[in-house]
Amino acid sequence: MVDTVNTSIQTPSSDIILDVRNLKTYFGTGDKAVKAVDDISFKMMRGKTLCIVGESGSGKSVTARSILQIVDPPGKIMGGDVLYYGKDPKGQNLAQLHERSKEIRSIRGHEISMIFQEPMTSLSPIHTIGNQIMETILLHQNVDKAEARARAIELLRRVEIPNPGVAIDKYTFEYSGGMRQRAMIAMSLACNPKILIADEPTTALDVTTQAEILALIKELQTSYGMAVLFITHDMGVVAEIADEIGVMQNGKMLEFGSAEQIFYEAKNPYTLQLIDSVRKLETSARAARGSRATDKKLMEIRGVSKIYPARSTFMGKANPPFKALDNVSLDVFEGENLGIVGESGSGKTTLGNCVIRVLSCSGGEVLFRMADGRITDLAKAKTGELRQVHREIRMVFQDPFASLNPRMTIGQIVGEPLLVAGTHTGEALRKRTEELLETVGIPGAAMERYPHAFSGGQRQRIGIARALALNPRLIIADEATSALDVTLRSQVLDLLLDLQDKLSLSFILVSHDIGVIRYFCDRVAVMYKGQVVEHGPAMKICSAPDHPYTKALISAVPGTHPRDKRIVNRHRYDAEAQASGIKLGGN
């Protein structure tokens, strides 16, 4: 889309810091080559943020890595120019430097630095954070150790790490996920880079932490005057921070323009689809479709706790017992969609697993009203009884790749519960399996295929078909959409809602994603550190929450309108900030 670039950006060339022209990066050679980056051109402006957005496999990360020539083998830059105007006003072509040459090494980390998705793996576990930052400073700048240390402390202070003088001597494992990412940013800022490349830096983080990091990057960008190349799959994040946006799919740049242009005047159908699928999750499908919730109780969760007992460590010191669930009580009504939302470690997945007895509860009752009217306490049910209940309560798992046995055909996988329950055999089993697959939109003729023949979204459908096999009454969906690309996410949610209209189903949806919860659920329970801090109707919780934690959570969710700048005006929850910080000072 070279013409788009030329028409949309009418700025003098002195403002351009990086000019990528017809970049091609292929994996492999010949006809079989995978064209990860296929003829891409874009320009980056000084002091501006360029977001490259795309789904998995679109080539966005490879584009970023090609700039610094750190593409994993067998990937190779096959053509094109990467002109860098930071040092030489006439431009330096990074694509033509040898990947191990002195020139490119003086650019990497010094002129252009990069932060990655996984802060755990990019930081060394055996050196202190301070040593790692100081190494970068000593490597590229001519200063002595004391000076480097002073600068490192200053950098940690700049990235808002509390008590930097003490924190500098801590090891990686003593930092939380968000603080690690801050430390990574501090390290990348060590040499005052002119460009910061951020490759999905917030994807592994909770939404409140993500908001903190995004705000930090934004603030640092203005004070340092850096250009930022931000790679993400999340349109919400894009809306918060982008000045310019490039949309990628299958190695091609489909559309390039300013944030306003892309969000309000996008022309490419794929861009529109991306934006729509995010905007869709800002509405409630339950309100649009009409809720089918009744006031008949289906399940009553009473005072459930899950406590991992204290374990003495090697030196004889005892760790305190860990309360993963602390006296949780909730009701599920027939035909209702209950959402359980929380950040990692809040106990939401543990609750889902305790309810279906994948994990046993340490205390409390899970009363389930069976189809025949009997009430069973799942927390204490025996194996035989549990097997009966498991016909009525089913589960859809998060990871569509791990949840299907790779050694069985999808027909065998979907038919397994029917076969084991003995309800269908032979031809009847085949018919019912085919029918189930058709229900979730997989052609029945594909039932002889193995799971590897299907994409992530299709596999999740197969998982749903398996859950439906025994005509369940309650389905627990544990992060069922979080492993999927955003365009597939709403499709799978719509499928579940369609099924609910046809079959009399209730759902418990466990998710960290407020958008998914808002779209899908009637009622929401917000969990924080093993406790339900607030529960109520989804619309109320998502628009006017009462509890301060919920307020912080909701306000940290990125919006879809570039003008909103929600994150700058977000709510901050102090208890959270304290809890995620490391213990500093006296031990």
């Binding site: 949840s403 790779p406 050694r407 003729a445 295929r449 023949a453 979204g457 369609d498």
Partner: protein
């Protein structure tokens, strides 16, 4: 169903209705991957050939391994020549040094012609029908030739190496089967149930692994009565070797079970209502089978080496049984090594077969997980 759902339905490519990668089972994927590994593939062919040799030892050996001759003691190997298409070897004559009486062999111009499907000693093919046909041998019945030389009793080393393959290779296989049964049973119980059983079995494994193997083998083997017939010794030695060999397999299998117990598809199977036995045999074991086979293949070489070691030290199989270890026992003395280095040929065979099995096992292990990169 909404618009989008229909769109995605259409995306399932139904072009390949039969065959093709979509219908390939795990075994087919594994095979496709294994075949790309050239060295492993060649090794597999070699291993198969070795076992064929072991099975058809009588047919492939030109002479009886127990056919002594005082006139051919320590005769050096003869080189195969071709007269047109007719293969022949030059005859050697035995002369003695008049002073030291040391035997020396002198190459002559006389030729022993060879032919395929020659007649030789009588044997039962596969233990069923009697025949005297051999793959190759001297044209004139009663003539001799020694492609691998001869031993201290003038017996043909080639025939002896071929017969040795039968004992050594079969012992590797049977030992591994015994170890696998023990390993799967104990490792599986250990990994699936965990807890105290796991603790007990793992301590047992550690105890056995901490024992110095060779002294233990020696102690056990020397406890065997000297007057036992060869086949009983053979079985006992196999059992002794596998009593120690199962520990590594048990660890591999326990590890796999532990990893698999937490796999989401196993939890899903439990929620599907599968009984414990079905979870193990229908869902867990098939997923491990390829890894187990690879581990087993890699265990055979250590069995072969164990047998060779024991027999070499004189505590495994005893003559008249023939194994590569028994044959190597003749090559213990320095005088033998200097005068008749061809007695080391069984050792070369051990190296070749162990290497081939290691490559084969490595290839299998790499192929076992089609989703790894």
């Amino acid at each position: 169903m909404s618009e989008e759902n229909k769109q995605e339905t259409a995306q399932v490519n139904m072009a390949n209705l039969r065959g093709g990668i979509e219908y390939a089972s795990q075994w087919q994927l594994m095979w496709a991957r294994f075949r790309k590994h050239r060295v492993a593939y060649a090794s597999m062919v070699l291993v198969a050939l070795l076992y064929v040799v072991a099975i058809f030892a009588e047919f492939l050996s030109p002479f009886s391994p127990e056919d002594p001759s005082s006139r051919t003691v320590y005769q050096p190997p003869q080189v195969l020549h071709f007269d047109g298409f007719k293969p022949y070897v030059n005859k050697f004559t035995l002369t003695r040094d008049p002073v030291t009486l040391a035997p020396t062999y002198v190459k002559t111009d006389e030729k022993t012609y060879l032919e395929f499907f020659a007649k030789g000693y009588e044997y039962k093919m596969l233990g069923i029908w009697e025949t005297n046909l051999h793959l190759f041998g001297p044209k004139e019945q009663g003539e001799k030739m020694f492609l691998f030389g001869s031993d201290k009793l003038g017996r043909d080393m080639l025939s002896r190496v071929i017969f040795g393959a039968r004992f050594t290779l079969s012992m590797g296989l049977i030992g591994v089967i015994l170890s696998t049964v023990l390993g799967i049973a104990l490792g599986g119980v250990s990994g699936y149930y965990g807890g105290k059983i796991d603790w007990a079995i793992q301590r047992l494994v550690e105890f056995i692994l901490s024992l110095p193997t060779i002294p233990i083998w020696l102690a056990l083997a020397s406890a065997l009565p000297r007057n036992w017939p060869p086949h009983l010794v053979y079985i006992s030695v196999t059992v002794i070797i596998s009593l120690i060999g199962w520990t590594h397999l048990a660890r591999v299998i326990r590890g796999k079970f532990l990893a698999m117990r937490g796999e989401v598809f196993v939890i899903a199977a439990k929620l599907d209502g599968c009984s414990e036995a079905r979870v193990i045999f229908r869902h867990m074991l098939p997923s491990m089978a390829s890894h187990v086979i690879a581990a087993v293949t890699l265990a055979i070489p250590s069995m072969i080496l164990a047998e060779t070691t024991l027999s070499f030290l004189g505590l495994g199989l005893q003559p008249p049984a023939i194994s590569w270890g028994v044959l190597l026992k003749d090559a213990q003395k320095i005088s033998v090594i200097s005068n008749a280095p061809w007695l080391f040929l069984p050792g070369v065979m051990v190296v070749i077969s162990v290497l081939a099995m290691n490559f084969f096992g490595d290839g299998l292990r790499d192929a076992a997980d089609p989703y790894s990169h």
